[in-house]
Symmetry: D2
Subunit: 349 residues, 4 copies
């Protein structure tokens, strides 16, 4: 691991772009060599063009980088992308076509049949899809995506239950943080003393992506998991940390202790490989009656551990719990970086 | 309606007690003649002892009323009660035993077999239970309760659906306002930039009370509605206005239009009788994709109309929607006052 | 007062524009006959183009009005303007030139030598400036402005003190509400768990406008009041209600009781004339140690009364107090409407 | 520095007590050997009795410590105290009398003539007062206090200006965080969409403590600094980070650059001595027009650096600026710990 991959960041000035930079600046395997953005900041240095919105100061290493247009060539070996949906599809395809591995947080390619929608702890087998991309893109080029910020915590929490007991149906009701809407995102007058019961496209993403992530790779394509998924999404006045109230219906009998133990003991390939961003435990189960809470639990495992609490039997489906995840770390930038670490470890980069 | 009933308020200094006063001060059928509280304010005038926490000024009419102990006799013909749970049971029983009708917002008697858990639009037939109370309490004394602040909006929204199509199961995930916890209630440090996934006793109340409210009075007792109810409750940083994301499973086939029309056209006895606090429509259905919102919709129908939005089919149960209600008006003080108005109209007072 | 003036609203879709409509819809002297906006909403009906952001529903009377470009001619006898600064100057001048009285909340003309910067209770004599506008604009055309939303409460609170004791210097530190920034205005991520110590142009406006408002009209022009004004401005997480902590240095001796009585007893021409929007008392002085508060006091006098509290002697200047005003009513739309009412009463319309 | 002092914490379960523990757990010079609290938690282990309200987990080292009564003897060499005002005076005196050095954050002794009110960067010479305490307390016992959480940032910002130019008068208007009120502290219903213009005792503390801190030790007592101090205090909806808008009048001429440079270059004894908690720069001056902000700047220098911004000339006094400090670190627990580190370095412990 002595040498570092030179990486470019597409959408570098946005909320997720800033998280990429924050998480990569001391990363042992990557160094940020190029930043690109689709907005009017092109031509300026990152330090001039970008207002740093995370705590602490903008990392010195990126201040002097010029902001470039999000188009190949970029001076890097791979790109992390958090471009807005509307331009992501064309741009990411053009990078893959130009031979760049694209590790994307955008929604554009998530449901494409030949694109892995990857959570390293859950469906690393789906990387088998990359074989099919070889004919499509030149050289080292390919596209790997991570799920929507709410889907990722739902799918991660369901993964051990699905493996052990089979999930037939799940109902998720989310309470999502402001940073999920980017910046400037939600107007303060809309959310002060209020809840917004609508997030554009979110319910559809959760309902479709979950079945792909938990689906089976049959050596040629992903067979969607045969489970019903229902999502209702709300925006609440929280800066970071998405929460979901979840019910699950299981195919096979399981006691409450079985369910708790299945979640608590879950470890997977990233933990075995000791990937840099992999938390010791992907899922922490808390037994206090008032956890998880966004303010107290979003930073668990440096934002890469999801926290499950209020686990109990349910009177309509079988079990219920509340799950919380840091939406711009495990739910976005951290997810993509963990994907890249796995790609290195498995020889795809 | 020319003469006014003289009413006493038990728990007059609390959040719901203040709402009682606010709603009663210009009421055509009631005048507040006595205020009682269990705290250290006894002996002082209401104006001295109570910090008014609602908008506007404390009504002049109650300023000079002395705060009395919550025990009979009180100078009034009936009492509205919002006493804390722990002392409500004994106190309310003593008032009923002393011949006072008790219109209670407390939880103490809600699930008692001979006590109506009343929503005038939903289960006015349950007032038949009062016959059974006659042997228990002296003179005019009886106890009528209203549901928990979250239950009331769930049961009211389900009522027309249950009547028309049969509700077999319902799943409610709530996002509840701060005023539901009373004052001082939730500490600001606990809720700023946060969500609390736990409200003591709330999930149990919703799951049990709903089946009683929607149950059938068979001329001697209430047969609980044979439906499964699942509740997960959260506190969010909103002053007033409880919200719930609801899924329902119906016994009989219904199209989305059937469901919408059933909710939208719902009218009941309070509307027919023209009760003072009865809203023109108990349920408003909004079709905008981002409604209901607490800040915008809690005051619909002077806080007595609940607002349903985001009505759609659901991939696990049959239909889903979001419902919002003003938790200290339709969910508490206004609910009790509407109960009292119905009791007058039906000759029980 | 039987006939109503037909009025046009420039900037009708913004936060202040909506307040204009809300306040005018049941006004005895005005009816909204035209709405104009500079944005992309032109050509649509108001009901289609505008998302109503105030509580309650959009008034039915304006739903069907077509949104027009903000340029004369408009079907109205006078215009209320809350256009953004950059286009207000040219637009308002063109309306005045076309013979329309312009009652403006915009900052464009406030400091112009021949334009009254009017608070009816404070400087109605400044309307003498209108004589000078007659040569400039055709027919009935003229421009009258109201002050910045923070200046107005400072100047109104200082007015009786200046008249009685002479204000030599004042220091104001503001805590301003979100609605002052319009919509979408402040991003939620910027203000949650935060304070912003900067509002563009605000400190300058307070420091300059105050001396004009409190200045003397010498029958040809305004002599600025010879007082030093210092302002530091902050944005806090409050929806409506600007607050300022104020110190004053007086030219003549006054006891604390003198100061309190001067504020409390202040009445002026709008009260004598019984103008529709004039509050019974322009200034309320509260003696509780924890008032004023935005949530509790912003609606005093239907938003037209300012509330002063925490009045006390000061160890650096002479006296200090905290003042609060509803920034979009007394501080904007209500201010302009009161100006128009005064103009009618004095025969200028 | 190889050996560690064994320290006791009085008021260990409160907000400041938890900060003490958080800051001491990895401290090179101290180890927490005893925890005491005045509440009902005595007899339980800290881990059982105390709900941890800071981010992250309760440090393992303190979980098993039994909570003792706040009275000597305690198993420790010195005590840090953050007891509530009413019991602090008697308790802290009893510890000093029993031979314990008392490093107190409480207000009880701050203004006592023989007690240093210490900010290590500002008035380390005041430790000369300890000589006078020797006759009062036995053995190693003495009392050293740190200022009120708002005073500390004001006095620290004024210190270099006072030294260089003489501060004749200062006016501070604060916007203070919720954590300053402890837990549960401010009720959420009181602060949501609101500002509270009153904090009990705060204005008096700022006005008196500042003149003592900036006063001169004449080898027998402190001569109060001859400056007028005016404070108006407000509570805003921010978790951590007190802000103050400050004006100053200087005795000697200084340009804006002089003032900026005086603040920016300020270093003092703690920096020279390299004390563990001493920030590299006690004061950071930011030139961006919208800084400091609580959310972005409270953690500067690990919460021990105060941030000054919006520095400019003032039209009433001479200069103005906004200053921000982490109120439970530099303003409380961190202040006391830095005091203790200085006491070690100077041989008082």
């Amino acid at each position: 691991m002595s040498r570092k991959y030179r990486v470019g960041i597409l959408g570098a000035t946005g909320m997720v772009g800033q998280r990429f930079i924050q998480l990569l600046v001391d990363h042992p395997q990557f160094e940020v060599s190029a930043v690109a953005a689709s907005d009017r900041s092109q031509g300026k240095n990152y330090g001039e063009a970008c207002t740093w919105r995370l705590s602490g100061k903008m990392p010195a290493l990126v201040r002097a980088l010029p902001i470039q247009a999000p188009a190949p060539p970029l001076d890097c070996e791979l790109v992390f992308s958090s471009l807005p949906g509307e331009i992501a599809r064309e741009t990411e395809a053009s990078f893959a076509a130009a031979g760049y591995p694209v590790i994307s947080n955008s929604s554009a390619f998530r449901m494409d049949e030949d694109v892995p929608l990857l959570i390293p702890e859950v469906n690393h087998a789906h990387l088998g899809l990359l074989e099919g991309q070889k004919t499509k893109y030149s050289g080292r080029g390919f596209i790997v995506t991570n799920p929507n910020c709410s889907t990722i915590m739902l799918a991660l929490a369901l993964a051990p239950l699905h493996a052990a007991f089979g999930v037939e149906a799940t109902i998720a009701t989310t309470l999502q943080a402001l940073s999920g809407a980017g910046y400037p995102g939600v107007a303060s007058l809309d959310i002060l003393d209020n809840v917004l019961p609508y997030i554009s496209g979110e319910e559809e993403k959760i309902e479709t992506e979950t079945t792909k992530i938990l689906g089976h790779f049959n050596n040629s394509r992903i067979e969607l998991a045969p489970m019903a998924v229902s999502a209702q999404c709300h925006r609440v006045n929280v800066a970071d940390g998405h929460m979901a109230a979840v019910r699950v219906k299981l195919a096979r009998k399981a006691t409450l202790d079985d369910v708790r133990e299945s979640l608590r003991s879950f470890r997977s390939l990233p933990q075995e490989l000791g990937l840099h961003s992999a938390p010791a435990a992907p899922i922490v189960v808390r037994d206090e009656q008032d956890r998880p809470q966004p303010k107290l639990d979003r930073d668990a495992g440096n934002g890469m551990t999801i926290t499950v609490g209020r686990l109990n039997s349910d009177s309509v489906l079988d079990y219920r719990f509340v799950v919380l995840s840091h939406n711009t770390i495990r739910g976005a930038a951290g997810a993509a970086i963990l994907n890249a670490e796995l790609l290195i470890a498995l020889g795809h980069l």
